[in-house]
Structures are given as structure tokens and as C-alpha cells.
Amino acid sequence: MSLDKSEIQNIALLARLTIDEDDIASHCKELADIIDLIEKMNSVDTASIEPLAHPLDLFSRLRTDNVTEKNERENFQANATETKDGYYLVPKVIE
């Protein structure tokens, strides 16, 4: 397995990470090694196997439609770096 520079940059973009130009080569190698490890799965035939998403036989539960959360905006926003008038601030999105 090998990955080239543009593939690494595309993965980083999808993951919203910036990668230093100097680190690209080592990322290519590390990821390729890990994918080689992962591909050992191909040694077993799984054609007739159902995928297992979850270890227990769980089902989704619904609760009654009551208000259970109280408004804690100020408490929660205390962890944000930039807020104003109860809003979170981000760089301008629309010109």
C-alpha cells in the first residue's frame, strides 16, 4: 500500500487538519503502514457474514416528549473563547 502527497492532503482536508509540508512524507509512510496492518482482515472470507455495528443486541429507545433540559447557555458558553450577546463568534462567512 502506498499513499501519495495529494491523497494525504485530501484526507487532511476532509478531517479539517492542516499538515506541514515537512510532515507529509512521514504521514504517507505511517498511514500506509497502518493500512497494510488493517488489510490483514482480507485473509478471512466475510461474504456471508452480517456486519456487527454494536456488541450488544440493543434497540433505540424513545422517551416521552417532555422538556428535560434547562437553559444553561451562560454556563456552557463560559468555555467558548469568543462570544457576544449569547452568540458564538466566528470569522465572517457571507460577504
Binding site: 476532509l14 499538515i19 456487527l52 456488541p55
Partner: protein, 484 residues
């Protein structure tokens, strides 16, 4: 007093031999003194602990208390603790003050546990050595040049050095059992869904499970009695009846059938570890257990499947760190994308970024079937292997790890070798099974753990076997000289 177990501290408080305040002050002093060499705490909550101890004493005097009111505990820094810094071992959350308590923390607080502090861990629980922590590695009390294991390395180190009688951990691929083994303590990963994940910072949601780390199986049972149970705030929380985990502790294990998975005694296993585990097996045989060889033929595939499922879920879970609502935010972003990318680049460490990248890759268009779906099918095969085996035996026994605690920096730059070292632990996570690691001897003054794996919701049984083993042996009583 610091050498006592939770059960012993509970009786000392009950008989008024000591007050909670005296106890907590003593432990806090030990934590402050030894954290310098061990780095096992990220935060020591001295003032809050003393305040809580005084309340515990008042509640005991009024007769308004539980068995454990006033005993100390340390919480892994992955659990949200209201008003207390909760970092998850990351720069990303280095200033995050949790606005609420995790369910596990809430239950322990309500039962009178007094938190001494928050323990060090691999960043976002991704690591097997505690070396990926933004706050530097915790050290192994048996030899400060060795890792304590990970990701719950700080908790294991703190309990082994008796800076706290017990602590909490989380286990996604072995993160409770492997550090318990490396530090010579007892650590239980419960059945998936048995302990609420609410307020436990997510890594891989279908694998993560919180649990106790303590000196003895009896203490593990006492903690399970507090933290186990259904939680409406966790949609994957199991609604099965809660047991009294102390009830079966003293049952005889005579006639129990214990399986030895042949794949756990393979070429990866260090010979000395194999000998110690075999001694452990003989000990259990003396107590009347019967052993038979069993097969888990797809064990080798557990690591590849795990390194698809865990990174995939991690890449999705960690997308919440956007630099906006909480967590690290970069300076002067030029636009929204720059804000996301740079905040994440600066806030996450190398291993976390590596796993986000793998997860993003295996979930990306065109690769989903080849990797993620394939891994889920392999996961089914691994669970089926266990299903078949549990038709024949009551539980399984084997080593927890391939060797003893490795040296700091030994595997840090070789992720593959670090990943492969979890070969005996990840299967239990993929299959959702409970498993416990118990101290079973030493090699060159470094502890070795034996692992017992049970069927779903059979915690009581494996704790019972562990307790009977600990009544017949004293490996769990050994304390590193420097911290006696």
C-alpha cells in the same frame, strides 16, 4: 493508613478509628509529594477534597451515610467533573471546565466518595503508554523509567503507589486492563453498556467502557455496586438488572470450567509471562477450577478490525472540536476553514491526528465497504468465536499483555508495534465482554497481570474468581518500596 484497601478504609471510618478529613489530608499530602516523580495527576483538587471530607464526617456523625462515605478516589481526566478542569490529556481541552458531572462521577459523589484529583492519561485515551498525554507521561511506580501503560496510566500509577486506594479508568482496547497489569493492580472493564458513558469524553463509542481500578477484586466489586446501572442519558446503557457484585465474592469456584484460548499463548507471549500465568492457572486449579483448551481462531484479526472501527468512530466523535464552542481556538483565523483547521492542528497531538486521519480515510467515499464494513463483519466473526467458546466454558483465562511494562520512548515512534501490544485485550472490546486483570507475579521487579474474561454481564463471576485467587495469593498486596 495509605496501604489500606477501600474495604479496610470503610471499616476504619465506620469504627471511628480515623475521620475522613484526617484520611483525605494524609492522601493529599502523599499525592502532592509523589506526583513530582510520577506525574500521575493532572489536577489535584485539594481544597474541594477537604471540604467534601468535612461534609462526609458530618454525614457519618448524623448516621446519614453509605458504606463508602468519606473514602478517597481519583477520577481519570476523561470524566467530566462539574466546575473542575477536565482535559482528557489534551491541549485541546487544557482550559476546559466541565459544566456538569459524568453519571459515573455523580453516582460516586452521591455515595460519598471524595475525589482527590484527576489522573493523567493518553490524549483522548489514544495510546498504550500514557506518553501521548499533553501533560507528559505518568511514570510506573515500580520503575520510573518504565511506562505505566495506557491509556488509564495515571490511575494505575496512582493506585499502585497508594496515592489513592482506588481510581476510575476507561477501556476502549485494553486501557484499564493493560495499565492495571503493568502497575500490579486490579482493573475491571465491565460489559459494554453496564456503566454509563454519559459525561465520559468519547473516543470510540461502540467500544468505550468505564470501570474501576483498585488494589483488590473486592474493592472493584464495591465500586461496581456504585457505578453500574441503567442511565437514561446514555442511549447505549444496558437496562439489565443490577447485581450486588459483593454477593458472590466468597462462593467456591470448585467445578467452574475455565477455557484457555490457545491463541493467547502464542509466539507473541513472553516466556516468563507465560510461566507466571501458568502458575496462576495452577493456583485456580488448586481451588477446584477445571481448565480446558479452547480456540479463538480469529484473535489475530482483532487488531486490524480494531484499527478500523476505533479510528473511524474517533474521527467522527472528534469532529466536535471546532475551535468555536469549547476547546482550543487558534489566534486570528483568516476564515472559517482556517479556524477549524488551525485550531485542530494546534490542539491535537500527533497520535490523535494520526487516528483521525486513518478514520477519515477508511470512511471516505469509495473505501467504506473495503474497510469499515469489512471490519464490522470481522467483528461479528470475533464475537461468534466467543459465543461458541462460552457454550463450553464459564469464563476464560490468559495473559493481559505480551510482556511487562516497556521503557519510556521504547515504542513511542513505532505506532504499529504499540498497536500490536494490545493483542490480548482488544477482542473483549470488539465483543463487548467484561474482563479483569489481576496481579500474578513479577519479572525483574515489574508486575505481570492475568486476565479473566467473562460472558456478557458475568462481572460477578469473574470478580468472584479474582477474589478467590487473591485470597490464595498475595501478589496484589505488593507495593513498590519507594512508595511504601
Amino acid at each position: 493508613m495509605h496501604q489500606s484497601t477501600l474495604a479496610e478504609l470503610s471499616s476504619a471510618l465506620e469504627s471511628k478509628k480515623i475521620s475522613s478529613e484526617e484520611l483525605i489530608r494524609g492522601y493529599i499530602e502523599r499525592c502532592k509529594k509523589h506526583n513530582v516523580s510520577l506525574n500521575c495527576f493532572i489536577t489535584i483538587t485539594e481544597d474541594e477534597a477537604i471540604k467534601k471530607a468535612k461534609i462526609a464526617d458530618k454525614n457519618r456523625a448524623r448516621g446519614n451515610h453509605t458504606l463508602l462515605t468519606g473514602v478517597p478516589v481519583a477520577q481519570k481526566d476523561i470524566f467530566c467533573t462539574n466546575g473542575v478542569k477536565t482535559t482528557c490529556g489534551s491541549k485541546m481541552l487544557s482550559n476546559f471546565i466541565a459544566p456538569y458531572d459524568a453519571t459515573l462521577v455523580k453516582k460516586m459523589n452521591e455515595n460519598g466518595f471524595v475525589m482527590l484529583g484527576k489522573t493523567n492519561m493518553d490524549e483522548f485515551a489514544m495510546g498504550s503508554s500514557n506518553e501521548t498525554s499533553f501533560f507528559g507521561p505518568a511514570k510506573n511506580p515500580w520503575n520510573n523509567d518504565n511506562v505505566p501503560g495506557g491509556s488509564s496510566g495515571g490511575s494505575a500509577s496512582a493506585v499502585a503507589a497508594r496515592l489513592c486506594p482506588a481510581a476510575t479508568g476507561t477501556d476502549t482496547g485494553g486501557s484499564i486492563r493493560q495499565p492495571a497489569s503493568f502497575c500490579g493492580i486490579t482493573g475491571l472493564k465491565p460489559t459494554y453498556g453496564r456503566v454509563s458513558r454519559y459525561g465520559m469524553i468519547a473516543f470510540a463509542s461502540s467500544l468505550d467502557q468505564g470501570g474501576p481500578m483498585a488494589q483488590t477484586a473486592e474493592d472493584v466489586a464495591l465500586i461496581m455496586n456504585v457505578i453500574a446501572g441503567y442511565d437514561g442519558n446514555d442511549s447505549t446503557s444496558a437496562n439489565n438488572k443490577i447485581e450486588d457484585y459483593t454477593k458472590n465474592l466468597n462462593d467456591s469456584i470448585k467445578g467452574l470450567k475455565i477455557g484457555l484460548p490457545q491463541q493467547y499463548f502464542d509466539k507473541n507471549l513472553n516466556n516468563d509471562v507465560a510461566n507466571l500465568v501458568e502458575n496462576g492457572i495452577k493456583e485456580l486449579e488448586k481451588l477446584g477450577a477445571k481448565f480446558i483448551d479452547v480456540d479463538l481462531p480469529h484473535t489475530e484479526l482483532s487488531i486490524p478490525a480494531y484499527y478500523v472501527v476505533a479510528p473511524a468512530e474517533c474521527s467522527s466523535n472528534l469532529s466536535r472540536y471546532d475551535g468555536i464552542r469549547f476547546g482550543h481556538r487558534c489566534n486570528e483565523p483568516k476564515d472559517l476553514k482556517d479556524l477549524y483547521c488551525r485550531s485542530r492542528q494546534e490542539g491535537f497531538g500527533k497520535e490523535v491526528k494520526r487516528r483521525i486521519m486513518i478514520g477519515t480515510y477508511v470512511l471516505s467515499a469509495g473505501y467504506y465497504d473495503a474497510y469499515y464494513l469489512k471490519a464490522q463483519k470481522v467483528r461479528q466473526i470475533i464475537r461468534n468465536d466467543f459465543k461458541e467458546v462460552f457454550d463450553k466454558v464459564d469464563l476464560l483465562a490468559g495473559p493481559t499483555t505480551t510482556g511487562t511494562a516497556f521503557r519510556l520512548n521504547e515504542k513511542l515512534n513505532d505506532p504499529i508495534s504499540m498497536y500490536l501490544s494490545d493483542i490480548y485485550t482488544v477482542s473483549a472490546n470488539l465483543a463487548g465482554l467484561p474482563a479483569i486483570s489481576i496481579p500474578s507475579g513479577f519479572i525483574n521487579e515489574l508486575p505481570v497481570g492475568m486476565q479473566l474474561i467473562g460472558n456478557h454481564f458475568q462481572e460477578s463471576l469473574i470478580i468472584n474468581v479474582a477474589h478467590q485467587y487473591q485470597k490464595a495469593t498475595d501478589w496484589h498486596k505488593k507495593i513498590p518500596k519507594k512508595y511504601e
